[in-house]
């Protein structure tokens, strides 16, 4: 096989990539009592996936990704309360609102690098959180946005108490987002993002419009994070200030590090592992579960750089 064929082959869809979807469908039947947790996991996978595009692929180190998640959640929630409970248009509203914030903040933030960029991402999140807190009339302030009522999907599939519709709704949304993200990272655009991550100076020197590419992926990532936030608002029918919190930004980075950044599937493994570990540890040790999460993270960073996927890689290569 020629080198060109071998390179093209690396980008083809492999059977193993369908495994998460088989597991997700299997989980729907096998863990019918845990579908609410399942929906939360799917939402966090989508959120982590959006982060992976900017952090893992483009190398934009951010601690403020919850800004877009929160904006998406609030936009979809407010839309449901004030305009329409139709869920798909609600997702679109969440995506567009988050993309608008991503594009606007990206125009400023992406002119900076390193620590300055990191601080600015934090600042944007803090500003939005405070704005949501103050805009009591619109967001419900510290009490949260109440009365979010969502219509049946396509006018047929009502959101039920057991979370079946919510789970499948989130699963389809995640699947479509994954298809899009996968196509993106395996396109010329996606490879150019990796080039920017690897060596920005050289990308400038080969004529790449680096800032435009970064702004594009930042906006796309914000839109996907906004969809994740909108899904949370629609499936829980509530939006609280925590969606814009620093803790959520930190957690999503931890989930991605758990799974492995810049691999697309690190988001799947990391978010699922983190959420399940959190659920189980919180049951076992309601007061100290964060300690175990912290310990796990320390062990992973020390002994399994590249996260769970990196560890699997090394084991399989032996």
């Amino acid at each position: 096989m020629s080198a060109v064929d071998a390179l093209i082959r690396r980008h083809r869809l492999r059977a193993i990539e369908l495994l998460p979807w088989a597991i997700a469908i299997g989980a729907y039947f096998a863990f019918a009592d845990y579908l609410s947790l399942g929906s939360q996991i799917l939402i966090m996978i989508l959120f982590a996936l959006s982060l992976d595009l900017v952090l893992g692929y483009a190398g934009i180190v951010t601690l403020g990704h919850s800004a877009f998640f929160g904006v998406g959640a609030y936009a979809a929630g407010i839309y449901a309360v004030r305009v329409s409970g139709e869920p798909l248009s609600g997702l679109l509203v969440g995506a567009v609102a988050a993309a608008a914030v991503g594009w606007t903040s990206g125009l400023v933030i992406l002119r900076t690098h390193g620590l300055t960029l990191l601080m600015l991402t934090l600042a944007v999140t803090a500003l939005l959180a405070e704005a949501a807190n103050k805009a009591n009339f619109l967001t419900g302030g510290a009490d949260g946005l109440q009365g979010v009522a969502i219509d049946p999907v396509f006018g047929v599939f009502r959101f039920d108490l057991f979370g079946r519709t919510a789970y499948l709704y989130c699963l389809v949304a995640l699947f479509l987002a994954w298809l899009f993200a996968r196509r993106l990272v395996h396109s010329s655009f996606g490879r150019s993002l990796v080039g920017i991550r690897e060596n920005t100076a050289r990308m400038h020197a080969i004529g790449s419009p680096v800032r435009r590419r970064l702004l594009t992926i930042y906006t796309i990532s914000a839109a996907l994070a906004g969809i994740a936030g909108a899904l949370l608002a629609q499936t829980t029918q509530f939006v609280g200030l925590t969606v814009l919190g620093f803790q959520r930004s930190g957690e999503i980075v931890i989930m991605l590090v758990f799974g492995g950044i810049g691999r697309l599937y690190g988001a799947f493994i990391g978010a699922a592992a983190y959420m399940i570990a959190q659920d189980q540890l919180a049951k076992l040790e309601p007061e100290f579960w964060y300690f175990w999460i912290g310990l796990l993270l320390v062990l992973l960073v020390m002994f399994a750089r590249g996260g769970i996927l990196g560890l699997l890689d090394r084991v399989l290569r032996r």
């Binding site: 060109v4 390179l7 010329s188 490879r191 080039g195 060596n199 020197a205 004529g207």
Partner: protein, 250 residues
């Protein structure tokens, strides 16, 4: 004839320090030109000014007769200005073929293509592979660049620049740090560059300079000391004194 590249009164200062002092320079189409000078003469600064990495304090830069002084780096590249770096500036985690393909897809304006899979870029990949064959590194096409020996990494530097199909190529010390056995390969590659490319080489290795260049410019403390043929440069006492050091050694 319109020069491929020209600088007119190019000037750059950092505070009180002048690093490029009223440089008037001309590179004709298809030229084989060398820029030499002692350490700190401002050679790399000159390249950075031409490529747009640095903004000049005064003066103009013309590429193919067009004023490119105000253009950003990427726009200059798209107009046919290619360069290599003195210190390897590669995509170290990517394979050799991917390194070159990135340059080629940017050159063909497909770098921003989001939705079509990489297999539709086969023509660019084939072109990249052919380029690697020409440079003798096709066997390493799938090897991550960071795993290559230094000499081959220098060839990848050149391959990336050639992937842009430049009309002007600036080679910043292409053989720097390369063992002499491997530098011969690099020199062969440079000598076989397409004749329509105007090449400016910055180099400390005088054997390489005198073998390659048909014209040489000597830069000292940010100013052009002299420009001429290799024979004229070799015979000039000022060059011997400031660059070759003969004035000091008798």
């Amino acid at each position: 004839m319109t020069p491929a590249l020209q600088t007119i009164g190019l000037h750059k200062r950092f505070g009180a320090l002048i690093v490029a002092n009223d440089i008037n320079f001309r590179l004709d189409a298809g030229a084989r030109h060398a820029l030499i000078g002692p350490n700190g003469a401002g050679k790399t600064t000159f390249v950075n000014l031409i490529t747009g990495r640095l903004a000049p304090s005064a003066g103009r830069i013309m590429l193919g007769g067009d004023d490119i002084t105000a253009l950003p780096q990427a726009a200059r590249v798209r107009r046919g200005l290619g360069r290599t770096f003195q210190i390897n500036t590669l995509f170290r985690g990517l394979s050799v073929l991917e390194n070159v393909s990135l340059a080629i897809t940017e050159h063909t304006r497909h770098g921003g293509d989001m939705l079509r899979p990489i297999r539709v870029r086969r023509p660019e990949l084939e072109r990249g592979h052919a380029l690697l064959e020409r440079l003798g590194i096709a066997d390493d096409a799938l090897v991550p660049v960071r795993e290559l020996p230094y000499g081959k990494q220098r060839l990848v530097e050149i391959a990336i620049a050639l992937g842009l199909e430049p009309c002007v190529l600036l080679l910043d010390e292409p053989a720097a740090g390369v063992p002499s056995a491997e530098s011969a390969i690099i020199l062969d590659v440079i000598e076989q560059l397409p004749p329509d490319i105007a090449v400016l080489i910055i180099e400390h290795d005088m054997d390489l300079v005198f073998r390659f260049a048909r014209r040489i410019t000597v830069l000292v403390q940010g100013s052009v000391l002299i420009e001429g043929t290799p024979a004229e440069i070799a015979a000039d006492p000022r060059v011997r004194e400031v660059y070759l050091g003969e004035g000091h050694h008798g």
